[in-house]
Every structure is written in C-alpha cells, then in structure tokens.
C-alpha cells in the first residue's frame, strides 16, 4: 500500500470521525451528555489529530490539538458542557471540516485564529488549568526528575554505593568510574528495576544498545544480589556503569531509557552515583543478606510504594470506564473491502439470478413441475441477492449528518434559523447512490431554506413560529427508497413561477398548465425564481441539475406544494444501481427492456385517443394533453411489429429533455428486475440503447435508453409538443 493510499484511508476516516463528532455533539445539544457520548466526540477529534500529525498536516494538527485539549477537559469534567460551549464546539467542528477539506485538496487552511482563542478561553474559564496538558512536560524531563528525587531521599544508600564503586574501581585498576577522569568519556549509571521485567522489557537489549553506541561497561554492581533463598528473579539487583564516548550525546542515551521510564533508574552527570536498589512490592522480598542492601530496600520503598499504589488506584478507577464500553454491541465493528471485490460479488449474484431464472424456465418448458427444491433454490437466490445488496448498503444517516452544518452555514448567511427533524436516518441504500445523493440533497436543502422558508418577520406575520422547520425523511417502499425534504415555508408561488417561465421562454404565455405542471417548471433548464442571485444559489447548480442527478441514479423527483404551508420534494430512488426494475416488451421478434423509472403508465389506446399527424406520425391524447407517439419498431429498424398505435400497446414515458412521449410496442410481456450489463464494455456504445440484460430463457435483451431514443427520434415532435 502506497503512502498516498494510506493518506486516502485517513481522509475517509476523517469523514467518518467528523460525522461521529457531529452526531455526538448533536446528541449533546439535544441533552444527552453522558460519558460515552462525550468520549465518542473526543475520540473522533483525537483520531483526526493523530492522523494529521502522522501525515504532516501541521495546520490541521495544531487546530485539532486545541480542540482536543478543550474536549479532554470537558471529558474530565473540568469544563462544564453548557449550551454555549456545545455551540462553540459545533462551530469548531465546522472549521475542522474545512481544515480537513483544505488538507485533502491542498487548499488554503481556514482562518481558525478566532476560534482557537475562543476555545482556549472556554478551557481557561472552565478551570482547565488543572487539566491534562498533553505536551507540557517533555518526556525527557519526567523520569530523571523522579530518579534524582529518589536519590535525594535515599541519601545513605548512594554513599555506600559510591564507596563500593570506588573500591571496585581501585581493585580493577585503570577503569575509570568517575566522570572527572582525564578521559573525556562520561559515565552512565543505571539500574533496571523489577517493573522492567514485569512490564515486558528486556534490559539486556538496552545494555547492548549502549554498547553499540560505543559505551564500555566499567562496572557491574553485584553487591545487592541476595542469597539464593531470598532471590527473586524478577527483581533488579544489578547496576551497571558505562563509560560513554564523548561524541555520544546525553540525550541519545536518555532516549533509550526514556522509553522504559521509571523502570530503570538512570543517573548521568558529574556528581551522578549509582542509583539504589528498589525492591518493588508484590514480589518476594530478598533475605537481608548483604548489609549494604539492608538500608536501601527499607528506606527506598516509601515513595515508590506510594507511587505504585496511586497508580494502581488510578488503574482501578480506570478499569470500569475501560470495561464498560464493551457491554453495548459495538456499532463500528467492520472490515474494509476493496470495492472492486464487492462489485464482482454483486455481478456474480446477478449472474446467479439469471441462471436461476433460466433453470426455472427450462424445467418449466420440459414440463417439470416446480418442485419444493426449486422453490428453495429460488428463495435462497433471493436471500443471497438481498444480502449481497445489503453489503453495499449504508445508512442514509451519513448524508443526513452533514445537513446540520449546511443549515448553520445558511443561518449565518441568510439569518433564517431552521430547525431540523430527521426521520429514518438508519434507512439503508446503495453506497454509490449515497455518494451521489449528497449534491442534489444539499441543493434541495439550500433551495428550501433560501426560497421556501420565509424570514422570521414574514413567518410571525403569517402566524407561524419564527423558526422554520425542515424535515428530512427516508423510508423503504416497495423495493425503492423515498427521501422527502419538507419545509414549512410559503410554498411555491405559482404565479411568479409561471411568469418567470414565460419570461425565460420556457412556456408560452397562453399555455394552460395545471398546478403540478407549474411546480415542475422549476426543474426546467435555465429557470431560477430567486429575485436576486444570492450567494447560496450562486453555486451554479440549478434545479434542472438536481433533477438530472436524480435521474442518473435511476430515480425521480416530485414536488408537492401548498401555498402558505410548505413544499415537499420527494426523491424516489432505486436501492441499487446494478439491478433495476424494467418492463419487458416485445417489438416484432425482439425483446426489449424499458426501465421502470421512466414509465408513467401503459395503455391500449382506443381509436379516439390517437390522432394522426401527417403521413406516419401520431399524437396520443392523454387526458386532454397531446404527446408524441414513437414507434419502437421504426426507431430500431425492426422488420416486424406494430406500425400503428391501434395494433399495439403504448407506454407513456417521462424523459429528461423532451417531456413525455408514448412508446409503441407490440405487447408487454412482464415486469421484473433485471441485471444491467454494460454494452460499452462488451461491445460498443449504441445510440438509444442503455445496456443489455440476460433474460430467463438465456436470450439477450437490449435496455432502451428512453431519454436518448426519444430525444433523437422526435426532434420535430418535441418542437410541436412545446
């Protein structure tokens, strides 16, 4: 895995962490301020900080550090979580999100100076001084201080040790154990303690490291080793003195031992002496064999034992907190799978569905009665298909969780404060659909706040609460997902929409349009009802693009608006992009699939419903409105099939660019799910054909590209229809 790929994982994680923090803070705002919630927020920010440091995003790291420090104090209960603080944290989260975006896109980091000041002030006001200041004491400062304190407490022992050292030096002759030696070498005294072994360290490896640096062992203090029956192998009885070459820095040596901390007493410097033996509690005490050892263990324990006890208490206090989260089922236990593998699985399941359908058809043709086993196979196949789909499915909450941020931004720019209600955020749908849903949804929400919800004064005048409400809901309905964005605003002003559409040349001034048709005009290309172009609508995305986005996902968008009461946009989307619902139709000897997303209705026209238009063109009268008829036989150049509407069935379809049209087919065979196979990858792109699928009898059927086909076959009709 390349560093770039790892970085990508980090950014995906950032998104997850931001969403988790948003959810947590939203819960805090709603009054849930338990330890788990706050801890989850802390962990999310902490995780971003860790990655930011690792990947070298300095601005992001510095910012998250301040954020985390404040959260840490909140978590420890040092700073009370008042509503203003929750708001501050939410704003800080927004800026954090901008920081992440900047880090990801290489853009400029947001201006966070004011927020940092605010966060630091909040921390200070909350009594944060007593809090955990992560980088205040440097790691190097900690252990030597403790070690020298201990040395001071144990005054008598070092002196004994000194004498022994001197004695040993004299005996061995020539070895320098004093730092003041003429040689510019310097000495390190060290004595590993019991904790080192107990905590999994191997002091020998550290000694070897010192030797590797050029250190020379000038003394090994064995004086504290007890008699065998009092010997505890886990204790540290031995002390070493190393003479280090002048070019080795003290810090380099300290670094080796910084690591092991208090578990190895270390003395460096001119007046340094061998640290005393410390016999740690909880282990067998040595028999008081050597007299010199007597004084050390007796005097040394108080500070150490005390320290250990405190630590143990801290550990006990920590234990329930650490163990508690294990109780509720973890929501986030997951594995990451290459999307390619998943798509391959979905593909294979698609093949399985086809194979199963083929088998059923073959047995049916051979007059084998549908047996119990066949039914079992069918239900298993369906279960496998659903499970495979659910792997790609994600809760829509990941999209919804971004909405509070959008609303806060909008509140800042429009002054309209909007309350958000979310229903069904755990509703699941395909990952790809979710990813591509973000943009249209964002635009619909901006639209709802910008154009739908009135200003506070207007709302009060209309007898409504000053704060508008936006309701987002998601639900499964008959194999599709419905997402509704409802505002309680003024509703669509149809007169204005109509006037605007006339002005833009979208409709003729004398057109007779139903309320629904007027509402749908806002989806027309180049339409905008904003009286002034606000910076919200200034993103260059119109409602026509929203509709296009939804359509590309195989979905539809509908509007329901009541003047004075509000507007609801409803998106109807397929659960997956790989499998779709279609109408299987016959044209001559061809079998075709018309995607159900386009189908409005199908009918067998009566003689009065269709009017001729010139030699071979027809128009269908649908409840007083005329739409062009398109013969699929002609469009496909088929040699057989219905040529006049009376001979076949008409399918009324919605198209993106050409409005409605009626497709003429011989008859409708079935309506079922089909697996989309790309024609472009297997053959080449063909105009009017969206792809292919394999039918139950093994034959290949083309999927009609309704938009493309109607747009290219009916340019003349289109103009007449408009």
């Amino acid at each position: 895995m390349s560093p770039e790929e790892i970085q990508q994982i980090f950014f995906v994680e950032c998104e997850e962490s931001l969403a988790a923090a948003e959810t947590g803070l939203a819960a805090c705002k709603a009054g849930t301020q338990d330890a788990d919630t706050i801890n989850a927020v802390f962990r999310a920010i902490h995780s971003i900080k860790g990655g930011a440091g690792a990947f070298g995003f300095a601005a992001l790291q510095a910012y998250t550090h301040t954020f985390e420090t404040l959260l840490s104090d909140v978590r420890e209960g040092l700073v009370p979580l008042r509503p203003q603080l929750v708001d501050l944290l939410l704003r800080a989260l927004d800026t954090l999100s901008d920081h992440v975006t900047a880090a990801r896109g290489g853009g400029e980091a947001p201006d966070d100076a004011a927020l940092i000041v605010e966060m630091e002030a909040a921390q200070a006001n909350g009594g944060g001084a007593a809090g955990d200041a992560p980088d205040a004491p440097t790691p190097d400062a900690a252990s030597p201080a403790t070690a020298s304190d201990e040395a001071a407490d144990d005054e008598p022992a070092p002196i004994d040790m000194m004498d022994l050292d001197a004695l040993l030096a004299d005996i061995s002759g020539g070895f320098e154990s004093q730092p003041q030696a003429a040689d510019d070498r310097w000495n390190v005294h060290l004595r590993p303690r019991a904790g080192a072994m107990r905590n999994g360290s191997e002091p020998l490896l550290m000694l070897r490291e010192i030797v590797a640096m050029g250190g020379e062992c000038v003394d090994c203090d064995v004086s504290q080793v007890p008699a065998l029956d009092g010997f505890d192998p886990a204790q540290g009885y031995l002390g070493w003195t190393f003479a280090m070459p002048a070019e080795v820095s003290e810090d380099a040596v300290r670094e080796i031992f910084d690591f092991i901390g208090d578990d190895c007493a270390l003395e460096i410097g001119e007046d340094a002496v061998m640290p005393p033996v410390v016999i740690e509690p909880g282990m067998a005490r040595p028999a008081p064999a050597p007299v010199a050892a007597e004084s050390a263990p007796v005097e040394a324990p108080p500070p150490v034992v005390h320290e250990v006890k405190v630590e143990v208490e801290a550990a006990h206090a920590q234990a329930p907190a650490g163990a508690a989260p294990a109780a509720p089922p973890a929501p986030g236990q997951s594995i990451r799978i290459d999307l390619f593998k998943l798509d391959r699985l979905i593909d294979l399941v698609g093949e399985l569905v086809i194979a199963q359908a083929m088998l059923v058809q073959r047995l049916d043709n051979a007059n084998v009665m549908a047996s119990e086993e066949l039914g079992l196979l069918e239900s298993l196949t369906r279960d496998i298909q659903e499970s495979a789909m659910s792997i790609r499915a994600q809760p829509i909450g990941s999209v919804f969780s971004r909405v509070p941020r959008i609303l806060r931004d909008l509140a800042a720019s429009t002054g309209k404060h909007v309350k958000l209600e979310v229903i069904g955020e755990s509703t699941e749908l395909d990952k790809t659909v979710i990813e591509r849903l973000g943009e249209p949804l964002t635009h619909l929400i901006r639209n709802a706040v910008d154009h739908g919800i009135e200003s506070a004064e207007d709302r009060i005048a209309a007898g409504k609460p000053p704060e508008g409400t936006l309701t987002l809901s998601a639900e499964h309905r008959s194999g599709r997902i419905l997402i509704a964005i409802a505002d309680d605003g003024a509703g669509i002003n149809r007169e204005r929409v109509f006037a605007k559409a006339v002005e833009k040349g979208i409709v003729s001034p004398d057109a007779q349009l139903s309320a629904e048709e007027i509402d749908n005009l806002i989806f027309a290309a180049g339409f905008s009802t904003a009286q002034t172009v606000s910076n919200i609508s200034g993103r260059g995305v119109g409602m026509d693009v929203v509709r296009q986005n939804v359509k590309e996902l195989g979905g539809r968008i509908t509007i329901e608006s009541t003047e004075g009461k509000g507007t609801t946009f409803t998106l109807t989307l397929p659960l997956t992009l790989a499998i779709s619902d279609g109408m299987i139709v016959n044209v001559g000897d061809q079998t075709l699939v018309v995607p159900l997303a386009h189908v409005v209705e199908s009918l067998r026209p009566g003689a009065d419903d269709v009017q001729g238009l010139g030699a071979s063109r027809h128009m269908l009268n649908v409840r007083g409105r005329f739409i062009p008829v398109l013969s699929l036989r002609e469009a496909l150049g088929a040699s057989q099939g219905a040529t006049s509407p009376e001979e076949g069935v008409l399918i009324v379809v919605d198209t993106e660019s050409a409005g409605q049209a009626a497709l003429l087919v011989d008859d409708i065979q079935d309506q079922r799910q089909f697996v989309i196979k790309s024609l472009a990858t297997n053959f080449r792109p063909v105009e009017g054909v969206a792809g292919a699928t394999i039918l139950g009898d093994g034959r290949v059927a083309l999927i009609v590209d309704v938009d493309g086909l109607v747009a290219c076959a009916l340019p003349a009709h289109e103009r007449q229809a408009a």
Partner: protein, 123 residues
C-alpha cells in the same frame, strides 16, 4: 534472532494501522493488525506475538484495559507492550505503566525511532 519478529498493532484508525504496517513491514517485521482491544485479545488467544503496539483511545476496550488483560493472563504476560498515542501526559503514562506497559511512543511517530523502540524490547 532467526525468526521474524511478529508485531500486533492495535489501533482503531485504519490509516494509523496502515502507516504502522508500512513502517514495520518495510523494516522486516511481520505485522498483524487489530482494530481495538477486544479484537486484539481475540487475535492473541490464537496467535503468538513478540511485541504488541497499542493505541490508548479505542472503542470497546481501550489500551489500558488491553494491557491489564494481557498482563493478567498467562499466555502473553511477559510480552513487551508499547503504547503508541498522541497523549503524552504524565498522568496517562503513569496509568499505562501501572497497567503494565513496557514503553511509550508518542504519535506522530518517527519510523526510525519506532523501529529502534521495537528492537529494544523484542526478545
């Protein structure tokens, strides 16, 4: 040591695990990954390990809890456990040490130092 040193990295952040994996495998270590204390214990129940490197802040079972459980068990009680975290307060260090941590590495880590730290404890 003739056998490849086997390291279990425990971190809930996939990117941190990937970074550790990258740094350690390119230094010749054999690396296994777990995403929190609970999965680490599950892994340890059926695998041998030379060194454990763990984060502190994790869901389900945090680093302190993991260390305590490993030290309290029989199978891996003597294994070195390095704590790798962004927190460097004395309070946290003392807690980790009380739980039985072998050493402490502060994130963001320097690959050379990390590797040196692992070699220092791997026995």
């Amino acid at each position: 040591m003739s056998r490849t040193t086997r390291i279990l990295t425990v971190d809930d952040s996939a990117s941190m695990r990937a970074l550790l994996n990258h740094a350690l495998t390119s230094s010749g270590f054999d690396v296994a990954q777990a995403d929190d204390g609970v999965s680490a214990l599950e892994w340890l129940a059926v695998n041998e390990v030379d060194v454990v490197i763990t984060d502190i802040n994790m869901p389900r079972l945090d680093g302190f809890g993991l260390i305590e459980q490993v030290r309290g068990g029989a199978r891996h009680r003597d294994r070195p456990i390095l704590v790798l975290t962004t927190e460097s307060s004395d309070d946290k260090k003392a807690r980790a040490r009380a739980a039985g941590a072998t050493g402490w590495i502060v994130k963001p880590f320097d690959t050379d130092k990390l590797v040196a730290a692992v070699r220092r404890v791997a026995h």
